[in-house]
Subunit: 418 residues, 2 copies
């Protein structure tokens, strides 16, 4: 079958299914999620077998160790997938929420109803758990989904897809509510992102290259997550212990996550108090430090930072360090270099802290907390489909609400406009 025809068929089926799942009861959606979870547990041996075949093929194709690591599914991973589905089932259903109804001077009553977006296309790289996670979030929010996983995980993705289909059917929902693209042909992605008649929004999950390409070529809106070049600013009025604890955690809790700090900014008055302590911690954990001249004067073990460092998301045990003279300089640095993902201030001074969160134009701004908290679970969303660095629709962690929007409802009693 021609790839364009195949994708058109998926699109048409998704559009039809979306009308049904948009109206499905919370009970039916939760029933499907719980059944899928049970099926995943029941078929863990087959999932692991399919994954092993994926991993073997990936090794034969010479994929690097990090990629193999992300691809590999364990028994614990299957259990985590199942639990994830059950957690989404336990979340409140956002669909149908009616809010803000107010009587207008004309006599009509105007308010809003929360509704699904329709059909969501999700494109991701070789992580088997995304298939189950994304299916759960789309279904719970009343959307149909078309999922396109990395070709390296194809066998495992299809095994998960079979569980999803069976769970949907057992709950009385259309099996086409979640479709996993069953071809490794790259043209499938091109088709998926250029079918506005069938797909309402695209969520790409993966490396920057993938996301940039999709954003460039898509003919539908994209909820995208580009870099996480995050900052911690230690203010003159910081509590030193909090500063050290936060700057340590923000960098070293995990190196490869998008909410990891990549540049540490320190007020010139705070630097002598905290930079030595922090350098001991970082160097002890094997973090390479790259600093401005003034930072290097305090910590000679630092290498020299270049301008390129300010703009780099290392995703590695490397940290850029810069000393700034004022809060304004810190804010200017962040608004110039940050990827608008997550930035934090450490300060006991209320006015400075409030200025920071007002003036730093990032999806998440924090006072006296580690950037590592920027996460759907930590924020109470229950789960996340991704972290948006866009400025419209949804900023930061995107949960069930981010997969919905609000339509206007007008209640009249024969009212006409005069």
């Amino acid at each position: 079958m021609d790839i364009q025809d195949y994708m058109t068929t998926l699109g048409r089926q998704a559009r039809a299914a979306s009308r049904i799942v948009s109206q499905a009861s919370t009970a039916a959606k939760n029933d499907a999620l719980n059944r899928i979870a049970a099926l995943l547990r029941e078929r863990a041996p087959q999932l692991l077998e399919a994954n092993a075949a994926d991993v073997e093929a990936a090794r034969a194709n010479g994929l690097d160790a990090a990629m193999i690591d992300r691809l590999t599914l364990t028994a614990k991973g299957v259990e985590a997938m199942a639990q994830g589905l059950e957690q989404v089932a336990a979340l409140p259903d956002p669909v149908g929420e009616m809010t803000d109804f107010k009587r207008r001077p004309t006599g009509i009553t105007v308010g809003k109803m929360r509704v699904p977006l329709g059909v969501i296309g999700i494109i991701y790289e070789a992580r088997p758990n995304v298939t189950a996670d994304a299916a759960a979030l789309c279904l719970k929010s009343g959307n149909a989904a078309i999922l396109r996983g990395g070709s390296e995980a194809a066998r495992c993705n299809q095994a998960v897809a079979a569980c999803v289909r069976e769970g949907l059917v057992a709950a009385g929902l259309p099996e086409t509510a979640v479709q996993v693209v069953d071809t490794t042909d790259r043209a499938a992605v091109g088709a998926l992102i250029t079918m506005p008649e069938f797909v309402d929004v695209i969520v790409p999950r993966g490396g920057k290259g993938l996301i940039e390409r999709i954003s460039r070529e898509a003919k539908v809106p994209v909820i995208k997550h580009l870099d996480g070049n995050c900052h911690v600013y230690i203010d003159e009025f910081a509590d030193d212990d909090k500063a050290v604890r936060i700057a340590d955690n923000a960098k070293t809790h995990r190196y490869g996550t998008c909410n990891t700090m990549e540049t540490l900014l320190v007020h010139v008055a705070a630097a002598p108090r905290v930079l030595g302590r922090l350098a001991d911690i970082y160097l002890g954990k094997g973090v390479e430090l790259r600093g401005c001249d003034r930072a290097r004067a305090l910590v000679p073990a630092m290498k020299a930072a270049t301008e390129e460092d300010w703009g780099t998301e290392y995703l590695a045990p490397i940290l850029a360090v810069r000393i700034v003279d004022t809060l304004d300089d810190a804010i200017d640095h962040i608004n110039r270099w940050s990827s608008q993902h997550t930035d934090a201030i450490v300060s006991e001074n209320h006015t400075r802290a409030m200025r920071f969160i007002r003036e730093v134009d990032s999806a998440s701004v924090m006072i006296n907390a580690s950037t590592r908290f920027a996460d759907g679970f930590e924020y109470g969303l229950g789960a996340e489909i991704g972290i948006s660095t866009d400025k419209i629709h949804a900023r930061g962690p995107v949960g069930l609400d981010g997969l919905t929007s609000q339509k206007w409802v007008v209640l009249g009693d024969g009212h006409v406009r005069s």
Copy 2:
């Protein structure tokens, strides 16, 4: 000066100004708006003179009567512009609103802050009032704006722009917070919609062709308003008098607006009760009727409708009429043909009315009210920058809130993630 360089300069200036207006006090923004209103009134003679020159040139270029009509500014129009600015000044400031702060199990407190989008590019056709309206909405919502009006209105737009600049400066705000593109070169539009580093969102206002072209070519998100193919469905359980009043108003109150009804759907049991009465009204007002066979059997003066009629936004005294057997058929027709702008049901039956508003996937859904109410002023937004037919970010009338988004705020006390 090269057009690309010129637009880059405007973009850079807008980005810098956006940082300042995003932090400007409500008082300063309102002061600017009121000063601009005063300047418009003071310079009404010059504005009318500039507009007269635009109109003369447009006539010489052979523009059609409707276009000339939209282009023409009257003394009353200037006063309406000034009042519009004052009305926006009187609206609550959306910027800085902090909501939904909740303590999480980790001890952090997580909530949201409403913030401007940044820089908004607005592209519109020859309507002089849009320059003042759009400037006001962008400024009040803390955004910088780059406005590109139709070349036919260039003289008048620049005269309005001068008032805006002077008002901004008098209020202590940067004059580059609102910039009106001062070239009629069409390449300016191409540049404006492809500068993601300087422009955060594009709002095109004008004909479908303009909006489709911009949506296709833009490299930044577009808040767009395409067709308004709106429906009224008269249910079996409709109150006949309300049905006639609403169907009359939805079609004949104004023919050229996007919230005007273009197709009337009537339940087969209601048709004998209301269709004759409505046909008398429509034909008496010179509305051409195009119906399905069953409708024509009841009203022989109707012409035959073709499938093309169901998909057409006439913007004219023409109405398509179709008789349907069930509520489901009505919903199916609407979800198949509607432009998802505004659709209404007339029914006294609660269950049917609720099914209609839940299942019709349009930006505005109404019970027993005329589609003509779909409007930012009628909904209480105070003003609107346009009516979105998109499904993400904002659906329906877009007011000040639609020109903002929410960032996440995390408040800690030295909290780190474990």
